[in-house]
Symmetry: C2
Subunit: 390 residues, 2 copies
């Protein structure tokens, strides 16, 4: 009855975890959410005020498909200020979430069956989107040796076999690791020398703790960069992203955006203008995340989890649970996630969501929430592990 490719579209396990967590909450349970990556601090006042100002002026009609000019300009300035990279505002495309950017980027690139290489473990939306748009995701196993990022050694062969696109996500979801700048530059050179296109997902940029993030634009004017307001700027429900696109793709992306989206939400676009005035606030939030990260990383290691590379970006720790599972006599991390959800009300995403590279021994912990809740989660997990050991 329906399209064959729907069979390839996997629901996220995290959604099942979240649903069950909400059920337990409805029954009165005191749930701690380490499964979802949504920061829980309030939207800064200037952003809310800008949105209200837009409402007071009834700025609620369609905007141009590529976004309001002042927002495209503000995004271009952001690249100058934060990366010292010059971006032409004409190459900035405002999208309905980064999701919209991916539909435009992958949809512009892929002929039926075209392969797109991506890191495994990786974000589960990518293969689903690629399937949906008629392409074929090529998951490449990566590990601690490359900080869980793609690198020329693993990309060389696929590139000679006609891979069309290579997706780089740094910081990575789920591993929180940044690509080494040398690898980034070498990947771009390799991919482009084979006529492929690098799509750089930079949504977790500036949620970084040890080194600044690097944009693909430093090395390439052919890459497609995708970013948005949902992570660093924490404007999730506003559904606003952006792309930086190479000049030859611009008219095609404009025609596609007109047809597929008309435009991004108008109030969100005006509100986002104020986000750039709140960088001090967001920088403080990153310091808060860093506190959470240091605490949780240490605590998980104390519990016996293995974290071979310090995650230095995003708000995730992708821990290898093998030692813990062995001690408990469990076969896979999904069982432990389920047990902890039901018995100690700590919600964690099993590795299952992130590909086929040993998902059964991995768990993703989000530390986007508040430190005291994370500390309470650690107390519960530690206590539970002790009880089970005796």
């Amino acid at each position: 009855m329906w399209a064959n490719k729907l069979k390839d579209i996997q629901p996220f396990h995290v959604m099942e975890v979240l649903k069950r967590a909400k059920e337990l909450e409805a029954e009165g349970g005191d749930l701690i959410h380490l499964e979802v990556g949504e920061p829980d601090f309030p939207t800064p006042e200037p952003i809310l005020k800008a949105a209200k100002d837009a409402l007071n002026q009834d700025l609620t009609r369609y905007t141009p498909a590529l976004g309001i000019p002042q927002l495209r300009e503000a995004i271009a300035q952001w690249y100058k200020r934060r990366y010292n990279v010059t971006v032409n505002p004409a190459h900035v495309v405002v999208t309905p979430g980064t999701s919209g950017g991916f539909i435009l980027a992958l949809g512009s690139l892929l002929n039926p069956g075209d392969k797109v290489a991506l890191a495994d473990p990786g974000y589960p939306c990518y293969p689903n989107m690629i399937h949906f748009l008629g392409g074929d995701p090529l998951a490449i196993n990566v590990g601690p040796e490359s900080r869980y990022q793609l690198h020329p050694e693993v990309l060389k062969k696929p590139m000679t076999q006609g891979v069309r696109g290579v997706l780089i996500t740094s910081p990575s979801n789920p591993t929180g690791t940044l690509i080494r700048p040398d690898d980034f530059a070498a990947n771009i050179e390799l991919v482009e020398s084979h006529g492929g296109v690098v799509i750089s997902d930079e949504i977790y940029h500036w949620i970084t703790y040890e080194e600044p993030p690097r944009t693909a634009l430093e090395w390439s004017n052919k890459a497609v960069v995708i970013n948005g307001f949902s992570k660093y700027f924490a404007m999730t429900g506003w559904r606003l992203g952006w792309m930086i696109v190479p000049p030859d793709l611009l008219p095609k992306v404009e025609a596609l955006a007109q047809n597929l989206f008309i435009s991004a939400t108008t109030i969100s676009q005006y509100a986002a203008l104020a986000a750039f005035d709140c960088e001090d606030f967001f920088q403080q939030r990153v310091q808060g995340f860093d506190q959470n990260r240091r605490f949780l990383m240490g605590a998980l290691r104390d519990m016996g989890f293995s974290i071979p590379v310090d995650p230095s970006g995003a708000f995730y720790i992708y821990a290898d649970a093998s030692p813990v599972l062995r001690r408990l006599g469990l076969n896979d991390s999904a069982t432990l996630c389920r047990t902890w959800l039901e018995e100690i009300h700590v919600a964690i995403t099993p590795g299952l969501d992130f590909g086929h590279n040993r998902p059964g021994v991995h768990m993703r912990f989000s530390y986007a929430g508040s430190l005291d809740r994370i500390q309470e989660a650690v107390r519960r997990m530690t206590r539970d592990l002790k009880q089970r050991a005796t």
Copy 2:
């Protein structure tokens, strides 16, 4: 370099018209916009207030992928109240604009190369979206005899040849005509008896002047219905639509929505709750449109345009300009559109945007604006035609 299907994605000519109109305005021209279909009245206060209340409560995080439950419930109630049709709120899917609904509906349905039948003249986004999602649009010429709508006689042969989907748009863009209820019922029976799916675009529902619109749900629980807040409710820039989906499609649509959109804009969802309290206001607006319609229909006929079927919905008149073009010695309507844009500053969309069924003699006039501006446009066009005749 980029996907082959991009060649099939046509930019809208109306966008070129709009762009040129804005240039002329920037030069000080007093432009009258009959080219775009965006109502120009302010958003009702209760909707703006609901949006501000949502901001004050910082309701700006992701919502469930299918939308907030209270909005899904309100939409279901709307079907009971306005159509006397019972809809299960669980089958209501809130989407980012009706555009989002089309991506989900067509994306769920189409295998590569699958055909989707649609009326020609018709809305230009449809074939572009179908191409983008790997399908093959099958434009079927329709005319005054069926009110420019698909009917069993033209659908019979395509259905035996394996057409997967049939798109019905009533009221139609660009013709403003409603499908005859008998044809609607017969189309659905025919399509479903061949295992096809009817996608019913009901976005112009209740902007109707002579008879109430009929929903596909009256005859089918297998059809996919698409509607939204951008036309009757005039909430264009809020980017909010909805679908009613058959139960077996629901889990697939949910997984797709999670992957492709995450969710629709949160503030827009809360604001839309208030839209259902403003039905009196919107009904008055429809009366205003009707005044515009009667005036413009008469005036165009006086000028020599042929309008074989009274448009009784939406805010468009699709006029056959043949008699006028003949009198002026012009070859096609695009020339007349260009001339009127440049010389008398009246912007109109040429038939070009609406398919291959004699577009060169047609023009689409939108009467979504205010009556006095439409009257002024008519004065200018009438004067111009007189001058050219002498």
